[in-house]
């Protein structure tokens, strides 16, 4: 690895916009050709990513506690949260749907929190542990990022379709808004994280 020099080690960096390679300087730099702001790593990547992750974590609490959907059937209405919906589907025998909802709304966000947290901690300490695996994890997080929007889409479509007035109707509740924000913030967090930080170990920093 040492044989192949990194741009960082050579004191060089490339413009994101026009790929012009310039010399690295300490002060805030701008591309001499297209005047884009230059930086070797995304500025404050860990900070931003951590901030978005934290916001997502905070919002995940009301997203789970508040009802996401209100179902009215023949005049008797009922508001359900994500977890009560999963439980209801499970008891109704639709374990496949319950599993899908659980995966999309609980398993995926939680795994994202864990993976991003892990990436941020390891990047912050310039750890050299399992760098290839961490890079793979990052790609995985990027990949599954928007799949949690499934819940939001289900509620949106059902609320739009099931409008039979007195017979039956479905209305979204505020919980789904929080859930959508959780998904967006985790995606922002993943986007803010600079995967090159995985490779910035203490050795390279020197």
């Amino acid at each position: 690895m040492k044989q192949i020099p990194r741009a960082d080690e050579l004191g060089l960096l490339a413009c994101h916009a026009c790929s012009l390679v310039v010399e690295r300087a300490t002060a805030p730099m701008h591309c001499p050709r297209c005047h884009t702001r230059l930086h070797g790593r995304r500025p404050a990547s860990v900070q931003r990513s951590a901030a978005f992750l934290l916001a997502a974590l905070v919002l995940y609490i009301p997203a789970n506690l508040l009802p996401v959907m209100f179902t009215s059937r023949l005049g008797s209405g009922e508001a359900s949260t994500i977890l009560t919906g999963v439980i209801e589907f499970w008891h109704a025998g639709a374990w496949d749907i319950a599993l899908i909802i659980f995966t999309a709304s609980v398993a995926v966000p939680c795994s994202k929190f864990l993976v991003l947290g892990l990436l941020l901690v390891s990047a912050g300490t310039h750890s050299r542990w399992a760098q290839v695996e961490r890079a793979r994890l990052y790609r995985f997080v990027e990949l599954i990022g928007y799949w949690s929007m499934l819940d939001v889409l289900v509620v949106a479509i059902v609320a739009a379709l099931v409008q039979f007035h007195a017979l039956s109707y479905v209305e979204p509740r505020v919980g789904i808004l929080f859930f959508g924000m959780v998904v967006i913030f985790t995606m922002l967090s993943a986007m803010s994280f600079d995967p090159r930080l995985i490779w910035d170990t203490q050795d390279h920093d020197k």
């Binding site: 010399e23 730099m29 916001a55 609490i61 023949l74 005049g75 008797s76 924000m181």
Partner: protein, 552 residues
């Protein structure tokens, strides 16, 4: 390669602009939003109350709503049994804005479909499920544990109108929700009833809705209009009822007597609930005058409640009948207590009563004068069929002098014995006439007649026997003879019998004879001389003479 690298241009360096990372505002905002929601939820949380019901029919934890005027003000969060398992405790979380419903006199009940005499209610809950209805109280004291009503209250507290209290001896067929009628229009209903503390009456609370509550004045008379009032009077059969509903569910009617004050009565005014319209609309009797009567005879047929009449006008009634024992004479006088209402003779009262002085004292003096002129109490038969008696206050001519005894309470009115003599005379004369009927002679005559009848019948029986034994066999023989005669006749007439054959032969002979005769006459026509000369030997007519020869 290194040269290439050295050739790279150096970036433009601009003045450093250092500003704190705004990205941390994002989680801060998220925390703020979460916190504000938490605080909002905390403050929006209303009181938690417990309502106990007899059964949790239709209630569901987490689903059943508490509604006021069809607006959700809370939710049932849990349903549990009471510690002694006799009741169901529904835990209700009220909204913050509905905290005012947790008052001491708030009432809760379960709204579910009901069918009663008064109609059908709660139909909308058939599909949507039951909910808990609430009637907001007005008390300033808050409360947490409520006892739910098993039936919806008939009157909710904020309905404009007034409540009135009606006192009655007996509830009759009234129910909570029974209608109240004014001029046959439903203007209110029975809201509640309860026994008096001493158990000697019932207090009925009725609610009259605005604006009709203004028709209830201090003078208003209420009566129980339940069921059907069927009366048969001199003007024919009269059927009186308020509405079909009152027959089933009972009801109350009220009216104002003419000429009364028309200022509306205030709420919670007490009235008397009469048993019927007649009683209710009767003029008030005023203070009763209690008097005691002593009779030395049996008063069979006199009942408590029997009228007391003065010159035929009903002025009071009998309140008690008792038998006393007089040791001095060893007799059993009958003591009758009566009440008399002077108000029932308004004309008399107006003239007698002076504006000043004690009313009983005035009455005493007045009565004393009347008794001196011969006013006495006397039991009289009011109904000859049933033997009912009433007490008549009447002037008895030549009554033994007596005085109106006011020494004790009640005053004692002198009496005379019942005047049954005329009736008795009539009855006696009827009995006398019956006596004169010669039942014995009638009986004897009847006996003799019966004997004769018996004889006649026996003779008739003998005659019939004769007919049976003698005439009928003869008749039988005759009929048999007739039948054989007819059989003979049949034989004679039969086609192969002798008689018809003979007749046939005779006829043939007759035919032949007639033919011969014709031949003869022909020949004589042609040869009249032959009668004299005899037949000529004519070869052409050889046949004719031959015939002629044979015929004679």
């Amino acid at each position: 390669m290194t040269n290439d690298i050295r050739d790279v241009p150096s970036p433009q360096v601009k003045s450093a602009r250092h500003h704190p990372s705004l990205v941390w505002l994002v989680p801060a905002l998220a925390v703020l939003v979460g916190l504000s929601m938490l605080i909002h939820a905390w403050f929006a949380k209303g009181p938690v109350i417990t309502i106990s019901f007899q059964a949790a029919t239709g209630l569901e934890a987490g689903k059943t709503a508490v509604k006021y005027k069809d607006v959700v003000i809370g939710n049932v969060t849990a349903i549990a049994l009471s510690s002694d398992n006799t009741r169901v405790l529904a835990t209700v979380e009220l909204q913050k804005s509905a905290a005012g419903f947790a008052r001491e006199d708030s009432r809760f009940w379960v709204v579910r479909p009901r069918i009663g005499a008064g109609g059908v209610s709660g139909v909308e809950t058939v599909l949507s499920g039951s909910y808990i209805g609430v009637d907001a109280g007005k008390s300033t004291n808050l409360k947490q544990d409520f006892v739910g009503l098993e039936t919806p209250p008939s009157v909710v507290s904020d309905t404009p109108g007034k409540s009135f209290l009606l006192h009655t001896e007996d509830l009759g067929s009234l129910e909570i929700g029974s209608p109240v009628y004014y001029r046959h229009i439903n203007v209110g209903q029975v809201a509640a009833y309860h026994l008096d503390d001493d158990g000697k009456g019932v207090m009925v609370q009725v609610f009259i809705q605005a604006p009709n509550d203004r028709f209830v004045t201090a003078n208003t008379r209420f009566w129980n209009a339940s069921g059907v009032d069927l009366s048969f009077g001199s003007d024919g059969l009269k059927l009186n009822t308020q509405s079909l509903a009152t027959i089933v569910a009972g009801g109350i009617a009220f009216a104002n007597p003419p000429g009364g004050a028309d200022t509306a009565a205030s709420g919670q005014t007490r009235f008397v609930l009469a048993h019927d319209e007649q009683t209710a609309m009767a003029d008030p009797d005023g203070e009763p005058i209690v008097m005691r009567l002593r009779f030395d005879q049996s008063l069979r047929g006199l009942a408590v409640g029997a009228p007391v009449e003065f010159l035929g006008k009903d002025v009071g009634r009998v309140t008690a009948i008792d038998v006393d024992y007089d040791a001095a004479t060893q007799s059993f006088p009958v003591i009758v207590d009566v009440v008399v209402f002077s108000r029932r003779l308004p004309l008399v009262e107006n003239k007698v009563r002076s504006t000043t002085g004690d009313v009983p004292i005035q009455f005493q003096g007045f009565m004393r004068g009347l008794v001196a002129r011969g006013l006495r109490a006397q039991p009289r038969p009011g109904n000859l069929l049933t033997g009912q008696l009433y007490i008549a206050l009447d002037f008895i001519p030549h009554a033994r002098p007596a005085s109106f005894d006011v020494s004790g309470q009640p005053w004692i009115m002198p009496t005379v014995r019942a005047d049954f003599s005329r009736l008795q005379e009539q009855v006696a004369s009827i009995v006398d006439k019956l006596d004169h009927v010669p039942f014995d002679a009638i009986g004897q005559h009847l006996d003799a007649d019966l004997v004769t009848l018996d004889k006649t019948l026996r003779q008739a029986g003998q005659t019939l026997d004769q007919v049976n034994t003698q005439v009928l066999p003869e008749l039988h023989g005759t009929l048999q003879d007739t039948r054989s005669t007819l059989g003979n006749f049949n034989g004679v007439l039969a086609p192969d019998a002798q008689l018809p054959q003979n007749i046939n032969q005779t006829m043939l002979e007759l035919q032949r004879s007639a033919r011969s005769l014709r031949t003869l006459t022909d020949m004589l026509g042609r040869h009249p001389e032959s009668l004299v000369r005899g037949r000529a030997a004519d070869s052409a007519e050889a046949g004719a003479p031959k015939k002629e020869k044979s015929t004679p």
